[in-house]
C-alpha cells in the first residue's frame, strides 16, 4: 500500500550516498536476512490481530493464522454502529494528537534551546528535576488532574472536563518531559560556532533559534514529533477519565470501551478498529522519514 511510496522516496535519498558504494557490495544479504528476522518478530503478533479483524466470528484465534470465517463484517459493523461513531473518534484523536504534537514540539524545542545554548544558573537542577518528575507513578496523579479540571470547567467551560481543548492542555503539561533531554542532546551536537558567528553579525537570539538552530535539528524534531504523536494517539487512561461524552471521545477511548462493552461481545469490531487506528501512525512515520534521512545526508556533508 503506502509502503510503495516509501521505497521510492528512500531510493531517491539513498542512491547518491557515495560512502556505501565504496565498500564491498557483498555482505548485504545477511543484512536482509537480519532485517527479515526482525520483521518476523515484529509482525507475527500483528498478523493475528489482522486475522481476527477479518474473522466474522469476532474472536481472537491464537492457534492458527487463518480466520475461521473470513469476511469484513467487523468493519461493516464498526462503521455502521451509531453507538460507536468511529470516524468522530478518529477526528477527535486527529485534532488532539496533531495540535498537541505541534505544541509539544514547539514548547520542547524552545526549552531545549534554552537548556542547550543559553547560560543560566539552575540549568542542571532544572534538567534533573524534569527527569526525576517522570519517576512518580503518573497513574496516581490522574485523580488530581480530574478534580482540577472539574473546577476549571466551572469557571471556564471551554476547557473543562469533556472538552478536547481541556485534554490538549493536560497533554501539554507533559511537554516538559524526557523529550527535552533528547532534544537538548541533539542541540548540543550542532556546532556552536554557527550561532556565535551569527551573533557577532548582530542576529538576535530569536533569529538564531528559528533560522539556524531549528533547521539543523530537523531529525530530532521529526523523532520527537513521532514519539509524541504515537504517545498521544494511543493514550487512553487520561482521555477516558476526561471524556465522558461519546462524541468527544478519542479513538483510544472509544476502542477501549468497545472492547469492554458487554464482556467480549464487540471484540471483532474492536480489533478491526484497532487495525485501522494503526494506519495513521505508520503514515506519520512515513511522512517524517524523509526528515530523518535528510539529517543523515546533511551530517555527512559537513
Amino acid at each position: 500500500m503506502a509502503a510503495i511510496d516509501v521505497s521510492n522516496a528512500d531510493q531517491r535519498t539513498a542512491a547518491p550516498t557515495p560512502a556505501g558504494r565504496r565498500k564491498k557490495g557483498g555482505g548485504v544479504w545477511w543484512r536482509h536476512a537480519l532485517a527479515l528476522l526482525a520483521l518476523v518478530f515484529a509482525l507475527f503478533p500483528i498478523l493475528f490481530i489482522v486475522s481476527s479483524a477479518f474473522n466474522n466470528a469476532g474472536t481472537l484465534s491464537t492457534s492458527g493464522l487463518m480466520p475461521t470465517r473470513f469476511g469484513t463484517d467487523n468493519f461493516k459493523d464498526l462503521f455502521a454502529d451509531p453507538a460507536r461513531p468511529y470516524w468522530t473518534w478518529f477526528k477527535n484523536s486527529m485534532i488532539i494528537s496533531v495540535v498537541s504534537t505541534i505544541a509539544t514540539l514547539f514548547l520542547g524545542a524552545c526549552a531545549a534551546y534554552s537548556f542547550s545554548r543559553l547560560r543560566w544558573t539552575g540549568r542542571r537542577t532544572g534538567l534533573l528535576a524534569i527527569l526525576l518528575l517522570q519517576m512518580f507513578p503518573a497513574v496516581l496523579a490522574f485523580g488530581a488532574l480530574y478534580i482540577t479540571f472539574a473546577n476549571v470547567g466551572n469557571v471556564l467551560p471551554a476547557v473543562g472536563l469533556n472538552t478536547l481543548a481541556g485534554l490538549i492542555l493536560v497533554y501539554l503539561g507533559g511537554a516538559m518531559g524526557s523529550n527535552i533531554w533528547l532534544l537538548k542532546g541533539y542541540f548540543d551536537t550542532v556546532p556552536k560556532e554557527l550561532d556565535e558567528a551569527a551573533y557577532i553579525d548582530g542576529a538576535s537570539h530569536a533569529r538564531i533559534f528559528f533560522t539556524i538552530t531549528l533547521r539543523l535539528v530537523t531529525p530530532i524534531l521529526a523523532t520527537v514529533a513521532m514519539l509524541a504523536f504515537v504517545g498521544l494517539w494511543g493514550e487512553f487512561l487520561l482521555a477516558s477519565i476526561f471524556l465522558t461524552d461519546v462524541n468527544q471521545q478519542t479513538l483510544a477511548v472509544g476502542l477501549w470501551q468497545t472492547r469492554n462493552a458487554d464482556v467480549n461481545r464487540y471484540f471483532g469490531q474492536f480489533v478491526a478498529g484497532a487495525v485501522i487506528a494503526s494506519i495513521p501512525v505508520v503514515l506519520v512515520y512515513l511522512s517524517l522519514q524523509k526528515q530523518l534521512i535528510g539529517g543523515l545526508t546533511q551530517g555527512s556533508v559537513k
Binding site: C110, A111, G299
Partner: protein
C-alpha cells in the same frame, strides 16, 4: 494559562522569514515584527484578563492573584530584552507547574487522608446521605397522586409550595408546611388516575418550574401525624419517616427501628456496643501519617516487599537494556544506505508501536497460552508460560521487548543522525571490526544523547502498571495465595493491596507511591551520576 500565553510572541513570526543566506543580521528587526510581538503579548494578556474576570465572577480570589502574577511574568519576560532563557522556558514551565507539579503535590497531600471509596464526602454529606437512605414509607400508609402548585397569584419561582394530593380513595387534599387540608371536590378537576389537574385557588407548576424549585422542594415535606409527606418525582407522593436520625448534641445516630446507637469512630459511624458492622457511608478526614505507618508495618507488604522489589528492578533494567540493544542494532542495520527497501522495513518495524497496548498485550498473553497459544504450538514445546513464575517473567520480558524496541529504534535512528559518518569511516580505517566500532565508537556517542532517555525509560518501566495489568495481572500467584504475584511490580502490588479491600484506600496507595518515588528517584539519580550526560551542562 491560555494557549496564546504559551507562545513566545516575538518569535512566532520569525520562522517565516526569508532563507538564511539572504538574512542581513546587521539590521534591527523590522517595525512590523515589533508590532506583531506586542500584539501577541496584548492577546495573551487579554486572554488572561478574560480568565481573571471569570474567576472574579466565581469568587476565586486566590486564583485571580495567581493569574495576575502569570500576566506580570509574561509582561516582564517578553517586553524587555532581558531574561532571554526565560523567554524560551516560560511557556513550558507554566504548563509543567500547573499540570505536572500541582497534581503531584495534590496526590501527595491525599496520602495524609483516608481518601478512597467510602470516604469521599464530608461528614455533613455523609450524615445527610445516611438519613436520606434511611427514609422508609410509614407502615400501612397510603400513596398519593401528586401535583405541585403554588397559591394562585403567587409567582411560580417564589410562591409557597403546595402538594395537591389525591389519596387512593379519591379524596383531595392540599398540603403545605403547616399540614394537610381537605379540598372541596367541587373546586377540583382530576384526571383518570385521580391526579389533580386543576384546583381553585392554586396554580399548578410545570415540570420545568418544579425542577427550578428543586432546592426548595428538597427541604419541603408536609407534616402528618405519622411522618412527612414527600414527593416521588412529579406525580406521586408517600408518607415517609427517616429510620436513622442524627443527634447534633451527642453526634450520634440512632436507628429508630432497632434502637441501636452509632458513634463516630475512624471516619465511620460504628455501633456503640461494638456489635455489627458500621454504617456504610463514611467521610473524608485527615489521618496524619497513618498511611505511611501502615505502608511500613503492613505484614503482607513487609513479607513480599523484597521479592517484588528485586523483580521490579530486574524487570525495568532488563527491559531497558534489551529494548535499547535491539532498537540500536536495528537502527544501525537500517542506517546503512546499501540496504534496499529500508523505508518499507522501517515502517513495518514500528508497527508494534502503532497498535494500542491493550490490543497487543492481549494478543501476546494469548500467544503464551500453554494449550492454545501459538508459541507452544509452533515450537512443539509444552511450556506453562503463564503458570510458571520464571516462565511468566520471561514471557513478560519478551512481550515488553516487542512493545518497547520500536521506541528505541526510533530514538536511536534519530540520534544516529548526529554522529558524523566520518567517525565510523575513521574507525573502519583504523582496522576496527564492525562489532568493535559499535562498542567503542558508536555506543558511547549514542549513549550521550540517549542516556537520559534510558533512565526515563527505566522509570517508566519501573512503574509500568498498564502492561502488567493487561498482560496477566501480575500472575501467577504461587503458593495458595492471591496477594503477591510472580510478575507483580511494586505499583501493581501496592494497588491490589491498597485498593482491593472493602474500602479501597487511595490515601494508602498514594503513600506507597511516595515511597516508590523515592526509591526510583534515588536509584535513577545514582545511575544518572554515572552517565556522562550531565557533564557538559556544567
Amino acid at each position: 494559562m491560555s494557549q496564546q500565553a504559551t507562545t513566545p510572541p516575538e518569535d512566532a513570526e520569525l520562522s517565516h522569514l526569508a532563507e538564511p543566506e539572504h538574512l542581513d543580521y546587521g539590521t534591527r528587526p523590522p517595525l512590523w515584527l515589533t508590532v506583531v510581538k506586542w500584539a501577541l503579548i496584548a492577546l495573551a494578556l487579554a486572554v488572561l484578563l478574560y480568565v481573571a474576570q471569570e474567576l472574579i465572577e466565581a469568587g476565586h480570589w486566590l486564583m485571580v492573584i495567581l493569574v495576575a502574577f502569570v500576566a506580570m511574568c509574561i509582561l516582564a519576560v517578553y517586553s524587555t530584552r532581558r531574561a532571554v532563557p526565560l523567554k524560551y522556558l516560560l511557556p513550558g514551565l507554566l504548563f509543567a507547574l500547573a499540570l505536572q507539579i500541582w497534581p503531584l503535590i495534590y496526590t501527595v497531600s491525599l496520602s495524609f487522608t483516608n481518601y478512597g471509596d467510602g470516604h469521599l464526602i464530608s461528614k455533613e454529606e455523609a450524615i445527610s446521605a445516611i438519613e436520606a437512605s434511611s427514609v422508609r414509607p410509614v407502615e400501612g400508609s397510603a400513596r398519593f397522586s401528586l401535583n405541585i402548585a403554588v397559591p394562585e397569584g403567587q409567582d411560580a419561582a417564589t410562591g409557597d409550595l403546595t402538594y395537591l394530593l389525591t389519596d387512593p380513595d379519591g379524596n383531595f387534599f392540599a398540603g403545605d408546611l403547616e399540614g394537610v387540608e381537605p379540598l372541596d371536590p367541587a373546586t377540583v378537576e382530576a384526571g383518570i388516575s385521580g391526579r389533580i389537574t386543576s384546583a381553585e385557588g392554586f396554580t399548578i407548576l410545570s415540570a420545568s418550574e418544579v425542577n427550578d424549585r428543586s432546592a426548595d422542594l428538597a427541604e419541603f415535606a408536609v407534616p402528618t401525624e405519622t411522618g412527612g409527606i414527600k414527593q416521588i418525582g412529579l406525580s406521586e407522593a408517600f408518607i415517609g419517616e427517616p429510620t436513622k436520625v442524627w443527634d447534633e448534641a451527642t453526634d450520634t445516630i440512632t436507628d429508630t427501628l432497632t434502637g441501636r446507637v452509632y458513634v463516630p469512630e475512624g471516619a465511620n459511624f460504628v455501633p456503640q456496643d461494638g456489635v455489627g458492622p458500621p454504617l456504610p457511608q463514611g467521610w473524608l478526614e485527615n489521618v496524619g501519617l497513618d498511611n505511611y505507618t501502615e505502608a511500613l508495618t503492613n505484614p503482607t507488604l513487609r513479607a513480599g516487599f523484597i521479592k517484588v522489589l528485586l523483580w521490579n528492578f530486574a524487570f525495568a533494567a532488563i527491559t531497558v537494556v534489551s529494548t535499547f540493544l535491539l532498537g540500536m542494532l536495528l537502527a544501525l542495520l537500517f542506517n546503512d544506505a546499501r540496504l534496499k527497501g529500508r523505508g518499507i522495513y522501517r515502517s513495518l518495524l514500528i508497527l508494534p508501536y502503532a497498535l494500542p497496548i491493550y490490543v497487543t498485550a492481549l494478543v501476546w498473553s494469548s500467544m503464551f497460552n500453554q494449550d492454545f497459544g501459538l508459541i507452544n504450538s509452533v515450537t512443539g514445546l509444552d511450556i506453562n508460560w503463564l503458570g510458571d513464575p520464571w516462565m511468566a517473567r520471561l514471557a513478560l520480558l519478551i512481550t515488553n521487548l516487542w512493545l518497547g524496541f520500536p521506541y528505541m529504534f526510533i530514538v536511536c535512528t534519530g540520534a544516529l543522525q548526529s554522529i558524523p559518518g566520518e567517525v565510523r569511516e575513521a574507525a573502519a580505517i583504523d582496522g576496527a571490526g564492525p562489532f568493535r566500532t559499535i562498542r567503542s565508537v558508536i555506543m558511547p556517542l549514542l549513549l550521550v544523547a540517549v542516556g537520559p532517555l534510558l533512565i526515563a525509560s527505566f522509570a517508566f518501566n519501573f512503574n509500568n502498571f498498564g502492561l502488567v495489568f493487561l498482560f496477566n495481572e501480575g500472575g501467577p500467584f504461587i503458593g495458595g495465595q492471591s496477594q503477591v504475584g510472580s510478575t507483580d511490580l511494586l505499583i501493581s502490588w501496592a494497588y491490589r493491596l491498597a485498593l482491593g479491600g472493602t474500602q479501597p484506600n487511595f490515601g494508602l496507595a498514594s503513600a506507597i507511591a511516595v515511597f516508590i518515588f523515592f526509591i526510583v528517584a534515588l536509584i535513577s539519580y545514582q545511575g544518572f551520576r554515572s552517565t556522562k550526560a550531565l557533564e557538559d551542562v556544567n
